[in-house]
Structure formats: structure tokens, C-alpha cells
């Protein structure tokens, strides 16, 4: 079942080499030829992934390639091994596939940027990191590349480093991710202290030996990492800000691949979660809440990329919900479909921005359908897929999640999901209508929107096709291709028997909800029968809550950042300089004062010194005379 | 105990002292006559035949003069200083051997007051004590000229004493003793080098030392051309400006006695002392000393006075290194056995 191969390393190595070459020689030599290195490299990686996937899926075997031992300290032993099982190859396909398309798209999109080579260094670096994350065989290596993708995210969000907003967003993304990593790292440490190993297989074997408390702790700590990376409540705040990066980055990292690392990790570690019902429950609740909260926020945003970003958060919430209720395969299925349609949506909005000269505010768009039909149609496909309109990809996967939640013992959460689905359709089509329909709210004489060039258009089309058809990988529900493919991975998980009626009922419900959202959006932004302003007015505080992202940022700023800064400042000025250093300098001063006192003995008069010498002589001789026989013998 | 020997020594010393004083007196006459001849003058010739009574007349004159003590003077020191000078001057002669012992009245009478095994050092020590006469006299006069003269003299004497002492070290090395008797005995040996038969006088083996000794001795006795302490043109009369009468004469006497003693010493140390052709005896020594005394006068008549810095520079920069060189060379020669003369 397990086969050792030596070509698996090509998948990460090709993008790594591209990244290194572009980084080292890009600025002075390669410059605008950078894509000639990066794109083929990722292509190679993608092709190799296909080979790997074919091998794994058709032959039902795990591929395995040991590389080297990374750390060895006592019993702590961390080898770097590449392992490809079914879960991995699915992820590999998504990662390398979407990456390839985004790379191609970037050739056109980033063409005029002075940091072109840099972009084509960081992007393959990200591919490398993500691929390694997926291929890792133990938790520490997973963690390493977990952080590495975070780094790439930092580099790419802050790509336009001259913008304050971009720099701030990058920093925020990294630090917030680090909060999650803090938990993740602790989880790994606890895992190691409890089990003396970090290897997936060994860990999963040993899980039953642990007490339920420990397992819960481990699971929750690991999930903290996922919260950070996959932008779950309450750490999702970084993701919308991450839109300051170039749009291809948003598409690739902050929609399709990196943010799903958390989902992947939980899925990868499912034996641990399965051993802890509490942890699963927490995952599900956080997922559902995230889905709902992010959907409400998305509804109120005007920045097209932010809408899509919050949509991502919301969709990630769905996946987490799926994980929490034990619907592992639907979670991965949604991950897969989401990758396509979210990448599509981002690239589409990128095309819009491209055409609108970096305008992001939907209130200054409108009527773009006329000039950008290709973009329009692909965007609509993406939006519909996201909104879960039959028969596009999102419909199938989201439906499975809701079903899974229902049967997984959390009907309430399924209902929350449904509500969120309404908002999903609402904000998605709000974006479509505001952007492409109606009259242009800009001066068409100044701006001449047009469809993007081929390098950008081709990926859009391919992704649109993907967004349209990938859903059928999961058809029929419960027994689709994807289910068969991933079955071996999750064989230990319990399977709920799902009745056909439930499936159909849920499908109907979600379709209705989605259509309701679509109708509402149409009414509000096309027909104008509902005034969004009036609704916002009516809802008042609720609207403001959503529009301000539920005040998470404000809360963090007020309760964490500023108090910490103030406390540190106080510590520095009072404790460090005042008390500790004060004590040091104070003791020095005491010595100096004492010395000043002693100094008076130093009269400078030779006569006095001579007198002291003579006195000493007299005394010594006297002592010698008196006690000499006893003292000096 | 050997009271006898003590008495004999005392007697010899008494005789010697008187001879010295007499010699001293006629030394002044000798100097004046020779100097006058050299300067195409006549010199003292009125008092007695050839002016031979002149020293006596001078002596009477000086003794008859008033003994003036300046008001500013440090009285006690002023009075004692010339005595000190005068008293120390003839002591040096006590260690100079004037010949083999005489046998008179069944007694062995050495022609030598005291045979000390550190005789030469003793002479040097006397020289260094002698300085006090000058410096105290100059100081006690309460007069700036005197003080300056005294200071000059002190510095000069100390410096040249060093040269004097070091120049003799070569002799000591060869003789292996500080005792003048031993040194004399060494020189009485005969040196046979091939066809030549030479006396083992140290002037032959230590010519450099001899030259140094001669120069240093002149300076040590404050004679021309090193008579800076009493440079009349600059310092009135140096440290004895304020002295008059017999106290002045004490200084005067001391100077001439010193000259005689040094001449005797030079004769003993370098040219064999009583050793000479035909028959050894005190006459040889007298002859040699007379030559050195003549040399003193000759110098005075010939050479101008040194400038002070030249004087000191000569001592420290020329003579002292030469003396050290001489010591080193002599030491090496002695070490390699060539000097087993």
C-alpha cells in the first residue's frame, strides 16, 4: 500500500528553484522575463501532481519519499518525508492547478509592476511552501510550512510595500496568524510530550492511549492554529485586510489555497478530533458562527475585493462546520469547489480592477457588462457557484455540508448555515449587480473598461469551467468520485446514513434560500424596489455592526494592542529604567558616597602618613614583644 | 699591644706633615717663579736670594691680617669650613709609601704612616669629604658669589671624582688590590717583552687611565684650566671671596697640599713611585712628583679656563665613557689572561 518513490520531490522542488532563481537574479538580470522561469516550474509541479494523483487514486497506494533528518535531539526526531495519500493528492491538484492558472494570469496582471521579478519569486515560493505543507508527514514539518505559507502571505500582502495600508495589512496578517500558530505550536509540544512522536501515523495509532482531557487540549490547540490560518472567528480580521495585496495573490493565497490549510490540517488530524467530541463541537460552532458573521459583513461592504474576502471567510466557516460535524469528505469537497469559484471571483474582480484602473469601490462602477462580457459571464458563474445555485459547484458541496450538519447532530447549526446561505446569495449578486448592471457610475470617457488580455482571460475561462463542473465530482451525493477518492483517508470516521429524502429536502431548502437571496439582491440593486439605504437605516445598529465587521478590529485595538503597548511602555519606563536600573545606579551612588566619606582620611599631608606608619611600627613591635613567642612561632 | 708601632706611625706622620707644609710653602714660590718665567717675567726675587723668603713673608702677612667675619655669615660654619679643608688635605699623604722600611734603633720604621688595604679608596674618600670645606665655606659666607662658586665647585668635584675613581679601577684590576703598597710592589716588577726590558709601570699598561687620572686630578684640585670655583673674572674669587687673613690662607694651603698629594699619588700609582733606575728610593718619587707639580704650573700658564658647561660636558660625556671603556677593556684583557703580566 505504501510505495517509496523518488520523484515526489519534483513537486516542491521546481517552484522552489524558480523562486530562488528569481529572487537572486531577478532584479538585475531576469527582470521582466521572470515568468519564463516561474510559470514552467509551477507547470512541472502541476503535471507531477497529476501523475502523483493518478498513481495514488488509481492504485490506492500511498507515495512516500524520505528526504533527510531535520532535527534530532534525544528522542525528539523529526525527519523530513514527503507522503502523498488521497487527501494529499486532492490538495496537490488544487494547489498546483490553481497556482498554475494564477501564475499565468499574473503575467498579464502584474505586467507593468516594477517588482515583477519579486512577485514571481514569492509566488513560486508560496507554491513550494504550500505543497510541502500538504506533503508533510509529521506535525512539525507541517508547522514549518504552515509558517512558511504565512511568510509568503506576508510578503505578498505587503508586495506594494510603499503603501502604508499594505504594510499594515501584511503585518497584521502575520501577527494574527502567529496567534493561531502559538496554539498550534503548543499543541505540537503537548502532542510530543504525551506521545514522544510527531509522525502522523504514529500519532494516530497512539491517540487512544491518551486521556480525553489531553486529547481535547491537543485538538483545541491544533484548531487554534486553524482558526488563525483559516480565518475563523475570532481571528478572521486579517483576511479582509489581506486584500491589499495584488489580486492574484488574493485569489491564490487568500481564497483558494493557503486559507484552506487550516481545514486541511483539521482533516489531516481527524483522528485526534474524532477522539474529542468537545473539540469537534467547538469546531462546528465556530465554523457556523464564522459562516454567518462573515456573510452578514460581506453584505454591507462596498469594496469588491472585501466582499469576496468576507465571502471566503464565510465559506471557510462552512468548511469548519463540516469538519465539526464529522462531514470530512464534504469539507474537502467544498474546499475543492471553493478553490475554483473563489479563485475565479478574485481573478474576475482583478480583471474589473484592471479595467477600472484599480478602482475597488463598487459604488463607482456599474454597467460594466457592456464592455466586459467575458469577465461578466465568468464572474456570474463564480458568484452563482458561491451562492449555491444549481447545478454549479458550490451547490453540491454546500448542500452536502448542510446535510452533514443535519445528520451530524447539529440541526441548529445547519439552520445557521442556511441563513448564511441566504446572505451568501444576497452579497454575491449584490456585487454582480452593482458592478456589472445598471448605469455606469463613472465617466466612461475617461475610463475605457475592456476585457482582459489572453493571459488573464484564459485562466478565467478555465476556472469558470471548473467552477461550473467540479461540483459533479461529488455527484451523486455520498457516492461521487470525490467520496470514493477520499474514502480511504477517512475510513476511521463514523458514517451517517443519509436518506435520499433528507438530501433532496436540504437541496430544495438551500436552493430556495439562495434564490431568495438572489431575488432580494435583484430587487434592491436592479429593480430598485427595495432601498438598501432605507433597510440600513431601519436596521440601524445591526447594520453598523455588520458594516464595521462586528467591531472585532476595534475590540482588538482597544483591548489588546493599546493596553499591551501601554503596559510595555510602563514596564520600560517604570520598572526597567526606574526600578531595576535605578537599583543598579543607586548602589553605584551609595558606593560613591561612602567613598567620598572615606576620602577625608586622605589628607594629602605626608606628615600624617608618616605618623601613621610610625604608629603602626610602634604597635607592631609592641605586639611582637608582647605576643611574639605565641604569634610568630 | 703594639703601642710601639702606633708611636712610630705617629712620628712618621708628624715628620711627613711638616715636610709637606714646608714643601707647600715653597710650592707657591716655585709656581710663581715658573709662571713668571713662562710669561717672560722675573717673579718674586726681592725677598731673600731668588725670592726664597717670599713664602715666609706672605705667611707672616696673612697671619697678621684681621680675621673678618661678614655680618651675614653663618658664623660657626664660616669659621670651621677652612679648617676642615686644611685638615683634610694632608691626610691623603698618609697612605703613600715613601720607600722600604728603615731599621733604626732596633725598630722597624715603615716609611709610610698607615698601610690600609683600602688605601686608594681612602684617598678618594678624603677627596669627597674635602668638598665640604668648599661648599660650607661658600654657603656660610652669606654671599651670592661665594654660594655660586661653591655650587660650581661641588658639582665639578663630584663629577671629576667619579672619573678619578673610575680611571683607577683599571689599575685596581691589574694590581688586584686597593692597597698602595701592593700596587707599588706590582710596579716594581720588571716586564720583559722580547728584547725590551721595561718597568711594569701602569703608565705603560694603562695609558688611557693615566691621562684620565691626570685630567681629573687637575679638576679635582680646582686648578687651571678647571679653576672655575675661584674664577676671579666671573665670581670675584669664588667660594673664598669673603675670606681673608689666615682663614684664607687655610684654603690656599689646602689647595697646594692637595696638589702635592695628588702628584705623589699619581707618581705612585702610575709611574712606579719610588721605583726607578739605579736605586729605588724616595728621591725618585720626589722627582716624579716635582714633574707633576711642574706640569700643573705649565698647564696654568698655557691653557685658558673652561666654560662651565664644557667642563661638565667633558666629565660626563667624554671622560666618563672613556673611563668605562678602559675598565671594560682591562677587564677583558685580565679575563683572557693576556694581562698576566
Amino acid at each position: 500500500m505504501e510505495r517509496t518513490v523518488d520523484w515526489l520531490v519534483v513537486i516542491p522542488l521546481a517552484p522552489l528553484l524558480a523562486a530562488v532563481i528569481n529572487f537572486l537574479f531577478g532584479k538585475w538580470w531576469i527582470r521582466h522575463r521572470a515568468h519564463w522561469i516561474a510559470v514552467p516550474a509551477v507547470g512541472v509541479s502541476f503535471l507531477t501532481s497529476i501523475v502523483a494523483a493518478w498513481t495514488v487514486l488509481s492504485r490506492h497506494e500511498r507515495l512516500h519519499q524520505p528526504l533527510y533528518t531535520w532535527i534530532r535531539a534525544g528522542e525528539f526526531h523529526v525527519p523530513v518525508e514527503l507522503v502523498a495519500d488521497q487527501l494529499t493528492v486532492v490538495m496537490l491538484l488544487v494547489v498546483t492547478g490553481v497556482s498554475f492558472l494564477v501564475h499565468v494570469y499574473s503575467i498579464g496582471y502584474m505586467h507593468h509592476d516594477p517588482g515583477y521579478y519579486r512577485f514571481f519569486a514569492w509566488l513560486p515560493l508560496f507554491v513550494f511552501s504550500m505543497v510541502m505543507l500538504v506533503l508533510a508527514n509529521n506535525f512539525l514539518v507541517l508547522f514549518v510550512f504552515w509558517e512558511a505559507v504565512g511568510l509568503c502571505s506576508y510578503l505578498l500582502i505587503g508586495f506594494w510595500f510603499r503603501r502604508r495600508s499594505a504594510a499594515e495589512a501584511a503585518k497584521k496578517a502575520f501577527v494574527v496568524n502567529r496567534i493561531g500558530d502559538f496554539g498550534f505550536a503548543l499543541g505540537i509540544m503537548l502532542l510530543f510530550t504525551s506521545l514522544r512522536t510527531l509522525d502522523y501515523h504514529a500519532v494516530f495509532e497512539a491517540i487512544p492511549q491518551l486521556s480525553s482531557g489531553t486529547v481535547t487540549a491537543i485538538a483545541l490547540l491544533l484548531f487554534t492554529g486553524a482558526i488563525g490560518k483559516s480565518a475563523q472567528l475570532p481571528l478572521f480580521v486579517w483576511l479582509p485586510d489581506a486584500m491589499e495585496g495584488p489580486t492574484p495573490v488574493s485569489a491564490l493565497i487568500h481564497a483558494a489555497t493557503m486559507v484552506t490549510a487550516g481545514i486541511f490540517m483539521v482533516a489531516r488530524a481527524h483522528p485526534i478530533f474524532l477522539a474529542s467530541p468537545i473539540a469537534l463541537w467547538v469546531v462546528a460552532v465556530i465554523g457556523a458562527l464564522t459562516a454567518f458573521v462573515a456573510a452578514t459583513i460581506a453584505t454591507t461592504q462596498f469594496d469588491i475585493k472585501r466582499v469576496v474576502a468576507y465571502s471566503t471567510v464565510s465559506q471557510l466557516g462552512y468548511m469548519a462546520l463540516a469538519l465539526g460535524v464529522g462531514a470530512w469528505i464534504p469539507a474537502m469537497f467544498h474546499l475543492l469547489t471553493h478553490a475554483f469559484f473563489k479563485a475565479l471571483l478574485f481573478l474576475g474582480s482583478g480583471a474589473v480592477m484592471h479595467a477600472m484602473h484599480d478602482e475597488l469601490d463598487m459604488r463607482r462602477m456599474g454597467g460594466l457588462k457592456r464592455w466586459m462580457p467575458l469577465t461578466y459571464w465568468t464572474f456570474v458563474i463564480g458568484a452563482a457557484a458561491n451562492a449555491g445555485i444549481v447545478p454549479l459547484a458550490g451547490f453540491w458541496s454546500k448542500d452536502e455540508i448542510l446535510v452533514g450538519a443535519w445528520v451530524g447532530g447539529a440541526p441548529l447549526l445547519a439552520l445557521v448555515g442556511l441563513v448564511a446561505a441566504f446572505f451568501t446569495a444576497l452579497y454575491m449578486f449584490r456585487a454582480v449587480f452593482l458592478t456589472f448592471h445598471g448605469q455606469p457610475r463613472f465617466d466612461p470617457h475617461e475610463l475605457h473598461p475592456h476585457d482582459p488580455p489572453a493571459t488573464m482571460a484564459v485562466p478565467l475561462v478555465i476556472l469558470a469551467i471548473g467552477a461550473a463542473v467540479t461540483g459533479f465530482l461529488g455527484v451523486p451525493p455520498e457516492t461521487g468520485w470525490i467520496h470514493h477518492a477520499l474514502e480511504p483517508v477517512f475510513e476511521s470516521a463514523t458514517h451517517h446514513k443519509v436518506s435520499l429524502s433528507l438530501t433532496l429536502g436540504m437541496a430544495l431548502a438551500s436552493t430556495l434560500v439562495a434564490l431568495a437571496g438572489l431575488w432580494t439582491a435583484h430587487a434592491a440593486y436592479v429593480r430598485g424596489t427595495i432601498s438598501p439605504a432605507a433597510v440600513a437605516e431601519r436596521l440601524g445598529p445591526l447594520y453598523r455592526l455588520a458594516a464595521n465587521g462586528w467591531y472585532f478590529d476595534v475590540f482588538y485595538q482597544r483591548s489588546v494592542v493599546r493596553p499591551l503597548d501601554a503596559a510595555a511602555n510602563w514596564l520600560w519606563r517604570t520598572v526597567d529604567v526606574g526600578i531595576i536600573d535605578g537599583a543598579v545606579n543607586g548602589s553605584a551612588r551609595i558606593v560613591a558616597l561612602t567613598a567620598q566619606m572615606w576620602r577625608r582620611l586622605q589628607t594629602g599631608l605626608v606628615a600624617n602618613y608618616a605618623l601613621a606608619i610610625a604608629l603602626g611600627t610602634v604597635l607592631l613591635v609592641g605586639i611582637y614583644l608582647a605576643f611574639g613567642s605565641t604569634l610568630f612561632r | 699591644m703594639d703601642w710601639q708601632r702606633l708611636l712610630v706611625s705617629y712620628f712618621v706622620g708628624f715628620v711627613l706633615l711638616n715636610v709637606l707644609l714646608g714643601l707647600m710653602a715653597y710650592m707657591t714660590w716655585f709656581e710663581r717663579r715658573v709662571l713668571a718665567r713662562m710669561q717672560h717675567r722675573v717673579g718674586p726675587n726681592r725677598t731673600g736670594p731668588f725670592g726664597l723668603l717670599q713664602p715666609i713673608a706672605d705667611g707672616i702677612k696673612l697671619l697678621a691680617k684681621e680675621d673678618i667675619v661678614p655680618a651675614n655669615a653663618d658664623r660657626l660654619v664660616f669659621l670651621v669650613a677652612p679648617l676642615l679643608s686644611f685638615a683634610l688635605a694632608p691626610l691623603g699623604a698618609a697612605v703613600i709609601p715613601f720607600g722600604e722600611s728603615l731599621h733604626l734603633f732596633g725598630l722597624e720604621i715603615p716609611l709610610l704612616v698607615a698601610d690600609i688595604n683600602v688605601a686608594v679608596l681612602y684617598v678618594l674618600a678624603l677627596g669627597s669629604i674635602g668638598v665640604y670645606g668648599i661648599i660650607l665655606g661658600g654657603y656660610a659666607s652669606g654671599n651670592r658669589y661665594s654660594l655660586l662658586g661653591a655650587l660650581r665647585s661641588t658639582a665639578q668635584v663630584i663629577s671629576y671624582e667619579l672619573v678619578l675613581g673610575l680611571s683607577l679601577v683599571g689599575v685596581f684590576i691589574l694590581a688586584g688590590s686597593f692597597s698602595l703598597q701592593d700596587i707599588l710592589r706590582e710596579q716594581q716588577r720588571v716586564l720583559v717583552i722580547g728584547p725590551l726590558t721595561l718597568p711594569n709601570w701602569y703608565i705603560l699598561s694603562q695609558p688611557l687611565a693615566f691621562a684620565l687620572f691626570l685630567i681629573a686630578a687637575v679638576a679635582e684640585t680646582n686648578r687651571a684650566p678647571f679653576d672655575l670655583p675661584e674664577a676671579e673674572t666671573e665670581l670675584v674669587a669664588g667660594y673664598f671671596t669673603e675670606y681673608s687673613g689666615f682663614r684664607f690662607s687655610f684654603y690656599f694651603l689646602a689647595e697646594y697640599i692637595n696638589m702635592i698629594v695628588v702628584s705623589l699619588l699619581a707618581g705612585t700609582l702610575f709611574v712606579g713611585g719610588i721605583d726607578g733606575p739605579f736605586a729605588d728610593g724616595v728621591w725618585w718619587l720626589a722627582l716624579k712628583a716635582l714633574f707633576f707639580l711642574f706640569f700643573y704650573v705649565w698647564l696654568r700658564a698655557t691653557l685658558p679656563r673652561f666654560r662651565y658647561d664644557q667642563l661638565m660636558g667633558l666629565a660626563w660625556k667624554v671622560l666618563l665613557p672613556l673611563a668605562l671603556l678602559n675598565i671594560g677593556l682591562t677587564g677583558l684583557v685580565r679575563l683572557w689572561g693576556i694581562g698576566a703580566l
Binding site: 586622605q602 594629602g604 605626608v606 606628615a607 | -
Partner: protein, 102 residues
């Protein structure tokens, strides 16, 4: 006390030494203090020579010789210091020479 012995030397030495010490303690003129120090060194020599004589040793004399040498060195340096001091402070009164204080 009828025969000369080291005790005599020692008593003389002690007397000279203590006279010197008292001089050092009581005088103000740095030059006189200097002389008193020489006196003390000399006193030490007396006792050394006394011992050497009594015990038929030369070590005492050797050490006396070293003491003399060192005294000479000390005199040279000391007087040099006095010269420098008077050149700077224009006094030989140790009560006015207080440079050691700073």
C-alpha cells in the same frame, strides 16, 4: 658590657633609627626629612654590620652594601622629586605639599 658585642651596635642602631624617625615625624622641611630617612637607613646598616661582625658573617656587610646602593638611588630620585616639586610649588614645606590628596 665589658666586651664589645652586637648589643652595642644594636643600641647605637636603635638610637640613630629613632632619632631619625622622630626627625621624620617632627620636621617640616622635606630636605631635613630626607636626611632623617638617610639616618634611619644608616642605622639599619649599623645593626647589620654589628651582626656580621659578631657572627663572622659577610652577609650583613653585603646587605649593608645593598642598603647603601639603594639609599643612593633613593637619594637621587628623592632629590629629583624635591627639585621638581619646588619648581612647581615653590616650597619645601611638606605641610604645603598636598598633591597626594588629589
Amino acid at each position: 658590657m665589658t666586651e664589645l658585642s652586637a648589643t652595642h651596635f644594636l643600641l647605637l642602631s636603635a638610637a640613630l633609627f629613632i632619632i631619625g624617625m622622630v626627625g621624620v615625624l617632627t620636621r617640616r622641611n622635606i630636605l631635613v626629612i630626607f636626611m632623617c630617612i638617610e639616618l634611619m637607613l644608616n642605622a639599619v646598616n649599623v645593626s647589620l654590620i654589628g651582626f656580621a661582625w659578631e657572627l663572622h658573617q659577610l652577609t650583613g656587610q653585603v646587605f649593608a652594601l645593598f642598603v647603601i646602593a639603594i639609599a643612593a638611588a633613593e637619594a637621587v630620585v628623592g632629590l629629583g622629586i624635591v627639585m621638581a616639586l619646588t619648581r612647581r610649588a615653590d616650597t619645601v614645606d611638606i605641610d604645603e605639599l598636598r598633591q597626594l590628596r588629589e
